[in-house]
């Protein structure tokens, strides 16, 4: 065991008896989906029936706390909606809920192998596509399955990789690394660690962390830090609870983030507030960057970003003055066609203020497994890798992006160009309800496929509409695993405590099937052996990790000074210049702008004024709610009751001018980008002063598990992504989910025969 790792001391083993019950300590990652994996104690009876799940007070990550989604675990696990056994359905019966037949795992595997191998023989392995979602522990296992099968077409069902990817790739091109806010999460002793410093300022940008718990950050670390003195700046189109507590709140028009960040840079440069010594020593491109920022005077930006120029100045001064400033940035920055410039513009603020690799600033997350880019790329033959769909259209997909581009794959399914696509493996994604856009087009495209497998714990609209084989997946209390997701990684295990019945974990399914397709690619007999192999670098077996977890990797600040960021050991950053590149040569080499340039969203009051006349409200989507993770949790009664239908938040003045009242159903109708098409989705009115009267906001991922399966659980009435076309900006990274236009009218009998 590597003695540099720091493990949390426990007085009890990870599994112990407590009276008539058994308690199993571990991590809650996933299903149900989540990006974190908080520490939990799972209590069962001696037969392996779940009694309850509570937070583990000894786990430094969440310190005993849980959000409602884990508190409801028992209801989720014991839900009557769970799939209990593998099923098959004749292709001709797709969409018919009564045509499913129970089958054995062996029959399911045999059918999948026969069908996939048939496609491989006749069309090549690339004709089988592998679709993943977000949040469920999957990237490592599905990428290996796809690549060991020989298909380069493994991908998230996301338009333009518009979640996390843009921030990650944007950061990498400028700085050779990704950076996350320093809330002491890398230390076992957390807030007491003497190296750590509480951030003086947390700049929350397009994120509602306390609700979202996104990207590996437990949102209430923000309140922990506020109690310890952190002050807030919040950039958000709504006055969230955090915004209400902030020193400065910038109520930006959705999609204008890059301009606002550049205006802040403009102030920092104009007023000489940036960290000159740091920039001199460690950055490059300041002249070009300054000249570009000069185009973004606060008064000009204020006008089209719908904020106050003095607030931009106040935010710039406050962030620049902070000794330790976190930028808690969210998916808002990713969900625009020009996402990379937004991420570049905000990342540059960390850089010119020296808030990189410093206590209380932004840190490079320690990593056990680089999971974002998948696992097992070496298994994919070079000639197969070259067939990946995406790079011909988007240069970024040649460089470091391992997955295929969803819009290009959809097009290939429809047109058979550049080659036919014949089958799909859909695991952890409900792409007709969430993540995917233009669900009507997606549905028609997928119907063309000869064979579709769905892998999920519950039935959902996508799989009811399309799957020929369904494999039932178990949930976190029912399976073992390792937690290696986004943010700062730690040695953390998911420990099986509950009898999974006839369901299996995602990793077990992929291992068993992978072994049949490509035994050399999957040389392990059990998932535990496979996990041990991944933990190889830590010197621990999976079983040792279970006993010792959670474990923390060695961590130090200012690695750019000691040479620990670069493989060659010289000081600086892992970029071609060795510096933080405010002017990015790498961007230029992809034919993209080396400097962050603001562009209006594809549809907006300024870019499409004609459309704005017909659709006079700016619509932003994806507002997070406490009770749901994207398209999940709708089957869990106590969670559903907290927010039972999709809402559209609007200002009282907006509601008055529309003549609608609280709780009333309305249609949100808007242009599908600039395609000329129009689409709509239903929402319940929620009136609140936290939003600008010109803007409305809605939550996403909606369908009704209790609804009619033949109507696909109302998904085509409820999915707001109907207003979004497939296709993204020039980099292929980033797509417009969050700055749209719409008009609103009441749902009435006469306008609602859908």
């Amino acid at each position: 065991m590597d003695d540099q790792y720091i493990f949390v001391e426990h007085d009890k083993p990870f599994r112990y008896e407590d009276g008539e019950t058994i308690v199993t300590r571990g991590s809650a990652w996933s299903a149900p989906g989540c990006h974190l994996g908080c520490g939990v104690l799972i209590r069962t009876d001696k037969q392996g029936n779940l009694i309850d799940v509570e937070g583990d007070p000894d786990n430094p990550f969440n310190q005993g706390r849980l959000c409602v989604r884990c508190i409801a675990t028992k209801e989720a696990v014991q839900s009557p909606y769970r799939l209990q056994y593998p099923m098959k359905r004749d292709k001709a019966e797709r969409g018919n809920p009564d045509a499913w037949q129970e089958i054995s795992w062996d029959e399911a595997y045999d059918t999948i192998i026969e069908e996939f191998n048939n496609v491989k023989e006749n069309y090549g392995a690339e004709a089988v596509t592998f679709w993943e979602g977000t949040g469920r522990d999957i990237s490592a296992w599905i990428s290996r399955l796809a690549w060991s099968f020989g298909s380069p077409n493994f991908l998230p069902s996301l338009n333009g990789l518009a979640c996390y990817g843009p921030r990650v790739y944007g950061c990498f091109t400028l700085s050779g690394s990704f950076w996350v806010g320093d809330y002491s999460q890398q230390f076992a002793d957390r807030y007491d660690n003497p190296q750590w410093k509480c951030p003086e300022v947390i700049l929350v940008w397009g994120n509602n962390p306390v609700v979202a718990n996104s990207d590996g950050a437990f949102g209430h670390w923000a309140t922990d830090c506020m109690k310890r003195g952190s002050k807030l700046i919040v950039v958000d189109s709504r006055c969230t609870w955090l915004a209400a507590k902030a020193e400065v709140w910038l109520q930006v028009r959705p999609g204008t983030d890059a301009a606002v960040a550049l205006a802040m840079a403009n102030v920092m440069i104009e007023e000489d507030l940036y960290d000159k010594e740091f920039v001199e020593l460690w950055c490059t491109g300041l002249d070009e960057y300054s000249a570009n920022a000069a185009n973004y005077a606060p008064e000009d930006v204020a006008e089209y970003a719908w904020v106050d120029a003095d607030d931009i100045r106040a935010a710039a001064r406050m962030y620049a003055a902070a000794d330790g400033g976190v930028i808690q940035w969210g998916v808002v920055l990713d969900q625009k066609d020009e996402a990379i410039p937004s991420c570049q513009a905000v990342a540059a603020l960390m850089m010119i203020t020296g808030n990189i690799d410093n206590p209380g600033g932004m840190i490079k997350p320690p990593e056990v497994l680089m999971y974002l880019n998948g696992w097992g790329a070496e298994l994919l033959p070079e000639e197969q890798a070259a067939k990946k769909l995406g790079p011909n259209k988007y240069p970024f997909y040649n460089a470091g992006v391992a997955v295929a581009a969803a819009d290009v794959v959809i097009e290939a399914i429809e047109t058979d160009q550049p080659y036919p696509i014949k089958a799909a493996w859909i695991q952890t994604t409900n792409l007709l309800a969430c993540m995917g856009v233009d669900p009507e087009r997606t549905l028609e495209a997928f119907k063309k496929l000869d064979f579709i497998v769905g892998v999920d714990p519950y039935m959902n609209p996508t799989l009811q509409a399309l799957a020929d084989i369904m494999l039932p997946v178990c949930m976190f209390p029912e399976r073992s695993g390792i937690r290696c997701g986004d943010g700062c990684q730690r040695i953390e295990t998911i420990n099986k405590a509950v009898d999974p019945g006839n369901t299996k974990s995602d990793m077990q399914i992929n291992l068993e099937l992978g072994k049949r397709f490509n035994p050399e690619g999957w040389p392990w007999d059990t998932v535990e052996e496979m996990f041990s192999n991944i933990y190889g670098s830590t010197g621990l077996t999976f079983e040792e990790a279970q006993a010792a977890a959670p474990g923390y990797m060695p961590f130090e600040y200012y690695k750019y000074k000691s040479g620990k960021l670069r493989p060659d050991g010289s000081p600086g950053f892992n970029t071609p210049s060795g510096r933080l590149e405010l002017w990015s040569g790498m961007m230029a080499s992809f034919g993209l702008d080396p400097l962050p340039i603001y562009k209006e969203p594809s549809v907006s009051p300024y870019s499409t004024p004609e459309l704005y006349k017909d659709f006079p409200l700016v619509l932003t989507t994806g507002a997070r709610r406490w009770n749901t993770f994207h398209a999940e949790n709708r089957q869990t009664p106590h969670l559903r009751a907290m927010h039972s239908e999709p809402a559209v938040q609007m200002h009282p003045d907006t509601a008055a001018s529309l003549g609608v009242s609280e709780g009333e159903w309305v249609w949100l109708e808007g242009p599908k980008g600039t395609t000329g098409d129009v689409a709509r989705a239903k929402r319940v009115v929620e009136i609140t002063p936290i939003i600008d009267p010109r803007v409305v906001s809605t939550d996403h991922g909606w369908w009704h598990p209790e609804g009619d399966p033949k109507k696909l659980y109302d998904v085509m009435d409820l999915n707001i992504n109907k207003l979004m076309p497939w296709g993204c900006g020039p980099s292929g990274i980033g797509a417009n989910y969050k700055s749209l236009l719409c008009r609103i009218y009441k749902v009435e009998e006469r306008n609602s025969h859908v």
Binding site: P57, L66, C67, I71, V210, H220, D224, W241, A244, W626
Partner: protein, 110 residues
């Protein structure tokens, strides 16, 4: 036992519902019934840039102060799960003292 009370530091309550659901799960309460329930006060804007936006949890007659957990040396479940660590259950006299140390607190004696 009878002088156990709850101290709420309502400056930090984010309205996350963890307390509510913890109690519902622990005590098998149906949807719509609570041992602890939060109330939203706001949001509304005043003074140009200031906002009133507060949540406050309140215990109900169905709260039994998690006597079983306290006896077993554990925290009441709502207290343990509270995401901002803003509720505490203890002896009313001690909580009264704590109350004087900080503003924006509420002492609830059931």
């Amino acid at each position: 036992m009878s002088n156990r009370a709850m101290l709420v530091d309502y400056e930090w309550c984010t309205g996350c519902h963890s307390c509510e659901l913890s109690c519902q799960m622990k005590n098998n309460l149906p949807v719509g019934q609570f041992g602890i329930k939060i109330t939203e006060i706001g949001p509304w804007q005043y003074d140009d840039k200031k906002w009133q936006y507060t949540y406050v949890p309140m215990i109900t007659d169905q709260c039994n102060m998690c006597a079983d957990r306290i006896e077993a040396g554990k925290m009441p479940l709502c207290v343990q799960h509270c995401q901002s660590g803003c509720i505490e259950i203890g002896d009313v006299e001690q909580l009264k003292l704590k109350m004087t140390n900080k503003s924006k607190q509420l002492l609830i004696q059931p």
